[in-house]
């Protein structure tokens, strides 16, 4: 039995003539936390956006839940998107509505849950990221780290099967960052989520990573478990673990 929820094969992605991903093959194992590593600007965000069809790859194949999705129309891709949560690098909260309303968007649009239940879910999801006090505030009234956390609670509002987090801990203090990691582990264990995280925090990687995908110059240099990653003889990867931050 195939145990991965996403399979990427020979993916090539360009912005105009600039090839960002040359030949990427990787798989995201089910109910595991996969960390995508790589230098700033190496195409981590681009890889996630390609999987979510926010950017159209030049060639290659992307398989989600066993189905080829790369040629699906936007409309046919909607059912997949409903199973996915995405935390964008800069949060991407809707600025014109409050934090609570932001978290409510997926709940109100994709379920027919009654109001009291939705209210409870909003409160829980905000409490999980320690933002209960900010429930009525607007995004412009939040700090960078708070925006990120509010965006995370919007991403997990519907208990997605797959959660993508683009640098969730950038801009957070170490304690909040650790709390966030604990939350991510709970999401995996208690709600059976599959989680894909882009992060540079070594401490965080040690706490949460089951699987590592190491990107460099548009290629996957390594995919495997965290323990094997440290033993692997790949200079770029070794340097990453010895320096700490890229």
């Amino acid at each position: 039995m195939n145990n991965s929820v996403i399979d990427i094969k020979n993916l090539k992605v360009q912005y105009g003539d600039n090839t960002v991903l040359h030949n990427v093959s990787a798989s995201i194992p089910k109910n595991k936390i996969t960390v995508i590593l790589g230098g700033s600007g190496c195409g981590k965000t681009t890889l996630i956006k390609s999987v979510l069809k926010l950017h159209h790859p030049t060639s290659g194949s992307i398989n989600i839940f066993g189905n080829e999705t790369i040629n699906l129309s936007d409309e046919d891709f909607v059912p997949y998107l409903k199973e996915v949560g995405m935390l964008f690098q800069n949060g991407a909260l809707l600025n014109s509505i409050s934090v609570a309303d932001n978290v409510a968007i997926p709940l109100e649009q994709h379920t027919n849950l009654p109001k009291p239940i939705i209210d409870r879910i909003i409160r829980v999801k905000l409490e999980l990221v320690n933002l209960s006090h900010a429930i009525h505030l607007f995004p412009s009234e939040l700090s960078g780290g708070m925006k990120k956390r509010a965006a995370l609670s919007r991403a997990i509002a519907l208990d997605p099967k797959i959660l993508f987090c683009d640098e969730p801990s950038a801009g957070l203090d170490p304690i909040t960052s650790e709390n966030l990691d604990n939350l991510i582990i709970k999401l995996k264990n208690q709600l059976n989520m599959t989680i894909v995280i882009v992060t540079h925090e070594l401490a965080s990687i040690h706490r949460i990573a089951d699987e590592i995908i190491f990107l460099d110059k548009g290629y996957v240099l390594y995919q495997g478990t965290l323990n094997d990653a440290k033993k692997a003889r790949i200079p770029e990867l070794n340097r990453f673990f010895s320096v700490g931050t890229y």
């Binding site: 014109s96 879910i121 208990d159 709600l191």
Partner: protein, 358 residues
């Protein structure tokens, strides 16, 4: 997947899954059963739960008159409930309501504050613009020229096109009437007076307000929300001088030129009607035109153009700086700035008309 409501024992038991797909159905079933009091929720046969299921359980417990206990909870579900329960999260305080009188007072107070900051901003921009002519320090090199291109040159096309059409329409509308009386030649008088004194400056001002005023307001507002203005301040640079003064100078230079273009092209628009429909010769048209126009008309038209320009740029800068919140605030102040600028243009025009009535 099922729910079992036992009224006698005051027990609810869930079986299978309790997730986004079925929580709504169960919620309605419970509401219909009108059961107020629940002692036990049995989860022995529950295999899958998510946040909506946990919220449903919390809701049942919250609404139950007597205490409710959870029975036979499987381990993983127990953990999930522990993490995702909303039981111990206090309801956040509601947003306080303001009273109408308070609100009215606040409006007046804010209007006074706005007036004050508008006057301050205006005086700062005007003073710095005058001193800026002699001392270029504090402005970016080439910024005035760049702003002239952006605010002035780029609008020449649209202003010419619309002025031509305007002159054309003015002449056409009056031509039929003038022909009845054999007063064909007076179309030149009509065009001269109306384009120079009214339509030219007004038309130009409205286009510039919509085009350049909105771009100034949104540019400054964006700079403010993205902290660029703060960044300039920390570099010990006066943002008013650095950003707004070049715009003020540029628009002061460009506006009279744009009005002149508008008037000329508008008259040419009228001339086409005069020649083709009213059988006038070009020479007699211009002869009549220049004999009607006085220096006073020219002065009125051009002095209007300065006031309109200053009104547009100052209002745009003021609203740009007034932005609140994030990106959504930019749109709001841009709209307000354009509306206020056009309003201001028309008020100024009325004042001028009263002033030069004789």
């Amino acid at each position: 997947m099922s729910i079992n409501i036992n009224m006698k024992d005051k027990t609810i038991s869930f079986k299978g899954s309790l997730t986004f797909e079925n929580v709504n159905t169960y919620y309605e079933k419970l509401n219909k059963s009108k059961i107020k009091d629940i002692n036990i929720i049995d989860l022995q046969n529950l295999e899958l739960i998510d946040s909506s299921g946990i919220a449903l359980i919390d809701n049942i417990i919250h609404n139950s008159v007597s205490n409710t206990t959870l029975n036979n909870v499987p381990k993983q579900i127990q953990d999930a409930i522990h993490t995702f329960s909303s039981k111990n999260i206090s309801l956040s305080p509601p947003v306080p309501k303001t009273r109408p009188l308070e609100k009215a007072g606040e409006l007046v107070y804010n209007a006074m504050l706005d007036l004050k900051s508008f006057v301050f901003l205006t005086s700062e921009i005007v003073i710095l613009s005058i001193t800026g002519i002699f001392n270029r320090k504090g402005q970016r090199k080439g910024s005035i020229l760049q702003q002239c291109l952006l605010l002035g040159v780029d609008s020449v096309g649209i202003i010419s096109l619309l002025s031509f059409i305007l002159g054309f329409i003015l002449a056409l509308q009056s031509a039929a009437q003038l022909r009845q009386f054999g007063a064909n030649i007076f179309v030149a008088d009509l065009l001269a007076i109306s384009m120079v004194r009214e339509m030219g400056p007004m038309m130009t001002a409205i286009i510039v307000a919509g085009r350049s005023g909105s771009s100034i307001a949104s540019e400054i507002a964006t700079m403010k929300v993205t902290e660029e203005i703060d960044a300039l301040k920390t570099m010990a640079i006066n943002p008013v001088q650095y950003i707004m003064v070049p715009k003020f100078i540029a628009i002061t230079v460009c506006m009279p030129l744009l009005v002149t273009i508008s008037v000329s092209v508008g008259i040419i628009g009228g001339l086409t009607i005069a020649v083709t429909y009213l059988d006038l010769s070009v020479a007699s048209f211009f002869h009549q035109l220049f004999s009607t126009l006085t220096i006073k008309d020219e002065i009125i038209g051009l002095s209007k153009s300065f006031f309109f320009a200053w009104n547009i740029v100052l209002v745009a800068c003021f609203y740009g700086l007034k932005v609140e919140g994030g990106a959504e605030g930019v749109g709001i102040v841009t709209t307000k700035s354009v509306v206020a600028a056009i309003f201001g243009v028309i008020i100024f025009d009325a004042i001028f008309s009263l002033f030069y009535m004789i």
